[in-house]
């Protein structure tokens, strides 16, 4: 298979998008020294509504407000992109049960594994952290296997 079959949509917008994701990370890091990941927001936000000691740890209660701001920024950035490129209002055709069930596993997995595609995938890999490189290689290979299996079972989209 040549590059035209593996990269049917080219690489420009993928690479530019990736560079911007990195730039957003650098803005926060350069100003605050924080290597921000997107998934701790889940636990830190739960600390507003759950009294469980697990969620009331200082590392969540002390960071929950800026994590809300970070997430709102991501939402706003997505909105600005959608409006600027005429994609605002796009909706997915992936079935609701896949989003919900996959979301539950993503929620569990990121918290057990201490990070997600941004925490491990961007910040951790950028730090050449062995734990992150291992985590990313595990989740990418398992995800490829899962997606191919679901596809082979005839589930679409």
């Amino acid at each position: 298979m040549g590059p035209e079959t593996l990269l049917p949509n080219g690489i420009a917008h993928y690479l530019l998008g990736g560079l911007l994701i990195g730039a957003g990370t650098v803005v926060i890091y350069g100003a605050t020294g924080i290597t921000a990941g997107a998934s701790t927001f889940l636990e830190s936000t739960l600390s507003y509504v759950s009294g469980l000691p697990r969620f009331q740890q200082f590392r969540f209660t002390a960071t929950r407000d800026w994590r809300v701001v970070f997430t709102l920024g991501i939402v706003l950035g997505g909105a600005l992109y959608g409006l600027a490129f005429g994609e605002f209002g796009w909706t997915t055709d992936v079935q609701w049960w896949r989003l919900l069930g996959g979301g539950v596993l993503v929620g569990i997995g990121t918290r057990v594994g201490k990070g997600c595609t941004s925490g491990h995938g961007v910040c951790g890999v950028g730090s050449l952290s062995e734990a992150s490189l291992l985590n990313v290689s595990v989740f990418v290979s398992i995800a490829v296997g899962t997606a191919l299996t679901v596809q082979a079972l005839g589930v679409s989209p």
């Binding site: 991501i74 910040c123 398992i142």
Partner: protein
């Protein structure tokens, strides 16, 4: 980092970083679960350039700023890298995350950006993530008695 004594530009800097981050998730098309699934089905490998580009930019900044020995202007935090302890949970969590990502094509940051684009069905995914994070925390609370700090998560 308590509310008192925070630099007035702390939250604005986080917001600006988040906006750039979210715009990048939009431009990369990663906000579309379909695009992520096409990558995972090995029919469009463009997402390699998203993670590659992002980690290259972030990693360069981490390395350069760490070597200066300076502190972050808004917090006084020493510039360092993101290093987590390598244990079984890194593999177990990565495996569970991988099944979820492969089933749905969504991950936390991309889901937030997708919501911003107006993709309301993604709320199923965001709801699921909160449920998953709660379940994980609830079960850990039962097994460990209390939420003793194991390690910082990002």
């Amino acid at each position: 980092m308590s509310d008192s004594g925070r630099h007035p530009l702390f939250l604005p800097a986080i917001l600006v970083g988040g906006v750039v981050f979210g715009f990048g998730l939009g431009l990369s098309q990663m906000y579309r679960p379909e695009v992520v699934l096409r990558f995972l089905q090995l029919s469009d490998l463009g997402l390699l350039f998203v993670m590659g580009g992002a980690s290259l930019v972030a990693g360069t900044a981490f390395t350069v700023l760490s070597r200066t020995g300076r502190r972050a202007p808004l917090t006084g935090t020493e510039f360092g890298k993101r290093l987590k302890t390598l244990d079984r949970n890194i593999v177990l969590g990565g495996g569970i995350f991988g099944v979820g990502w492969g089933l749905s094509g969504i991950c936390p940051g991309a889901a937030y950006a997708s919501l911003g684009v107006g993709n309301l069905p993604i709320l199923y995914g965001v709801l699921g993530m909160f449920v998953g994070a709660y379940l994980q925390g609830y079960i850990r609370s039962l097994s460990s008695g209390a939420g003793h700090p194991t390690e910082e998560a990002a």
